[in-house]
């Protein structure tokens, strides 16, 4: 009798082992690709690199589509126009100490200063909006490039992940190396042959994510899955 009892235990152990395996497989399917990037709990709207953003939406987004990466130019690229804006703001104060416009009546002088600040404000708004809304998105299905040029021209182009043929990135120069940003070129087989993500932070990580997404798409195609 004890022998039969012992053999039952062995079978049970084997059964438990068999049950454990599918659970592990499922876990792997939930996270098919692993990244060394931490997901932020709260999106910073002024950030240039957001991995799996929570509250970012765009007009041509499908219901089931998930945004994986949100990108825009590195904030350091704003330094040039920010310095010019600072000079423009302080210019009337500096010029005021020299009697250059003394020939103008006081009321005209005052309006000239107000007009100057209006133009400065428009310069700041135009540059800020160009940076803020020039966005690149990587979703689980495609890449989307949103560009606004000079406040009056808008261009939105997208390409499916499986149409990506080649991804390469470049980082050159002292500032780009110090602040770790560069250009990412994506060659595609879609209507738009080339996508250029300019001055984005961590282009190597973006390239890795795109590579993982392409592998995932290929896997989906082999398994016959739609999403």
């Amino acid at each position: 009798m004890p022998d039969i009892f012992i053999s039952d235990n062995g079978e049970k152990k084997e059964k438990i082992k068999v049950k454990e395996k599918p659970a592990k497989d499922k876990e792997e399917k939930i996270s098919p690709f692993s990244y060394s990037i931490k997901q932020t709990t709260k999106d910073n709207p002024f950030a240039s690199f957001i991995f799996r953003p929570n509250h970012i939406d765009f007009e041509i987004k499908d219901e089931e589509e998930k945004v994986i990466l949100f990108l825009r130019k590195h904030p350091i690229t704003n330094i040039k126009w920010a310095v010019i804006a600072l000079i423009l703001v302080t210019a009337p104060i500096l010029v005021g100490s020299f009697p250059i416009f003394s020939f103008l009546p006081k009321n005209y002088h005052f309006i000239a200063i107000l007009g100057w600040y209006l133009l400065t404000l428009s310069y700041i708004i135009q540059n800020f909006l160009s940076w803020y809304y020039q966005i690149q998105l990587v979703t689980d299905e495609r890449i989307v490039d949103i560009d606004f040029y000079n406040l009056i021209y808008k261009e939105v182009s997208d390409c499916n992940i499986d149409k990506i043929q080649d991804v390469k990135y470049s980082m050159g120069g002292v500032i780009r190396t110090i602040f770790n940003f560069g250009d990412l070129m994506i060659q595609t087989a879609s209507e738009v042959p080339n996508f250029k993500f300019e001055a984005i932070p961590d282009p190597n990580k973006v390239a890795k994510i795109l590579q993982d997404l392409r592998e995932e798409e290929q896997q989906e195609a082999l398994e016959g899955r739609v999403r």
Binding site: I56, F103, G115, Y133
Partner: protein
């Protein structure tokens, strides 16, 4: 001083005033374009600061209108 030339100064300053008001009117139109463009941008991508961008564009427009009215009054 330009104001010391009686006949010429009236005409010259009137022309300058017309040009200033014309330039400021064009600027008001430009600020309206900015409002429209910000609206278009916020509709294209929702980042979470749409309200802030709209407020900034409206403040810009109001500032432009205020300068135009002020110029009409004091010039």
């Amino acid at each position: 001083m330009i104001n010391n030339m009686p006949i010429l100064s009236i005409n010259l300053m009137a022309i300058v005033k017309i040009f200033v008001i014309l330039a400021l009117s064009i600027y008001v139109i430009f600020s309206l374009v900015v409002i429209k463009q910000v609206k278009l941008m916020t509709e294209t991508v929702e980042i979470g600061t749409e309200w802030l961008m709209k407020i900034v564009s409206y403040i810009h427009f109001l500032f432009a209108v205020a300068v135009l009215i002020f110029a009409i009054i004091i010039l």
